[in-house]
Symmetry: C2
Amino acid sequence: MDNIWSDCKGDLEEVEQHIKKSLDSEVAIITTVAHHILNGGGKRIRPLLLILSARLCAYTGGSHIALAGIVEFIHTATLLHDDVIDNEKIRRGISAARVLWGNRESILVGDYLYTLAMCQAVMMENIEVNYLLSATCRKMTEGETLQLVHNNNLELTEANYFQIIEYKTASLISACCRLGGIIAGAPDVEKNALTRFGQNLGLAFQVADDTLDYVADRKRLGKSLGKDLKEGKITLPLLHLLQNCNEKEKKSLKEIILGRKFFQKDLAYVIGLMEKHGSTHYALAQAKTFVNRAKEESSLFKDSRHRQALEAVADYVIRRDH
Amino acid sequence: MDNIWSDCKGDLEEVEQHIKKSLDSEVAIITTVAHHILNGGGKRIRPLLLILSARLCAYTGGSHIALAGIVEFIHTATLLHDDVIDNEKIRRGISAARVLWGNRESILVGDYLYTLAMCQAVMMENIEVNYLLSATCRKMTEGETLQLVHNNNLELTEANYFQIIEYKTASLISACCRLGGIIAGAPDVEKNALTRFGQNLGLAFQVADDTLDYVADRKRLGKSLGKDLKEGKITLPLLHLLQNCNEKEKKSLKEIILGRKFFQKDLAYVIGLMEKHGSTHYALAQAKTFVNRAKEESSLFKDSRHRQALEAVADYVIRRDH
């Protein structure tokens, strides 16, 4: 991955410059809050995927910079709203915007970043880009809403779970990859392969992220665990556990999930059960399967540095140390 | 006004059908919440202005229906977020969505309506429409944020106040009028006149709305008064009062505005002072001035039924009984 980051360093720095330059609202607090969250240590995975996809399709223009900024604005808008919705206190190790400025400010700056993204997308005057971005934003809000609807739903199925993460997470990651193909003027067959590559990579990413919420690990020291459990979000490892534990364990799990209070010992108990029933192992294996499917899609392209880089990103997103 | 509504009845019914048809998210709660607020008695002033502006420019196509739906979706998205931000319990005489479903659901369905509007705008494949709509949405979020920043700001100036209402309210109303001209392919001089017409009408509308929050009136029975005062929103009549009352009164006003508790007697006291100092009278005169300015703009067009209708709407928005 280090090679990939350094290979894309020039482009990514341009993206950073573009993001900084774009945040110039005459309403000072918007600029302040937006800078706070946009400079808060995001890894820029989406811009990276967009840049690499464009390169894979031999793109030589300059639209990828602004477009990478746009997808990061959209992603950041959802983070601001998510943090309000989940009552989050910390985002990437620093105080969430809603803690520093308030829920109301976070809602409005989220709205601002959405609309800023749309303004910049319109300015690209590329109808295919605009169709994809607007449809993706719509899908993401549906995914977030579905997740909320299924909070504390012990009857959640794997199909429900995969729909949620496909909509809320994989749709934008998939769009990033397709956008690279779109601006490069790639043929449909390549754009579709990139779409499915991103789709599978996005699913892998979210399944891994959901699983790591239950994996205590020295490398991940400082990351808080059990957030999903605390919020009543039923993710893949918990889903697996609910379907594979015995009746007595199930009863305890229900009490923990639906209980009003959440104790650290509950988390330890759940993690213990997950180990016993192989739930995190199962979920990580699923993530790995999505990575492999992603690579099947990228294999449509002839071998190249850019293809290898995209595949390395796919491996990276399910690693424990990011 | 009755004549105008009935004259546009066919188009407005098509807009209603279009809105209903558009609300078909596979996530049931989105459709439910969106229906609740979109069927909650909105007057459809924005669609009406768009339709009349298009007619004024001799538009004969069918794009005004979808476009009227789009502006109503954008308006409704802001209402959902505003109600969360203001902790509103009631919207147009019925329970606010946030009371019935929750803040989180209201935030997400607001996001959904924004993105639905953008999806439909992109589908129109008219770059001028998309430039205007995305820039307008951005301006609206800036206006809402400015309003929040200036909450409880006793040093607010009239310039600040007018910027807030221009951004949060007049920008969309102005856009509705310009959009009518855009789809009709009107020349720039007409589109610009429509823009300024809508701008002034929008300012008149908001000033009147802000003033009526202090005007107890038999016709407006059932409307709660003093909401802005309670929320610390400094609007034009209060601004006028703060600038024209004596020191002792100013001290009391500060205590009421900045106080943690709000009593009905405080409102009565403020309304009394406003009568004494002519503050609501001043504000309504300002609203009337904006209506006159709007009419100066529409006078660019030769006299017609549609021009008269637009001017009647301008008179209507500052009346007390809407």
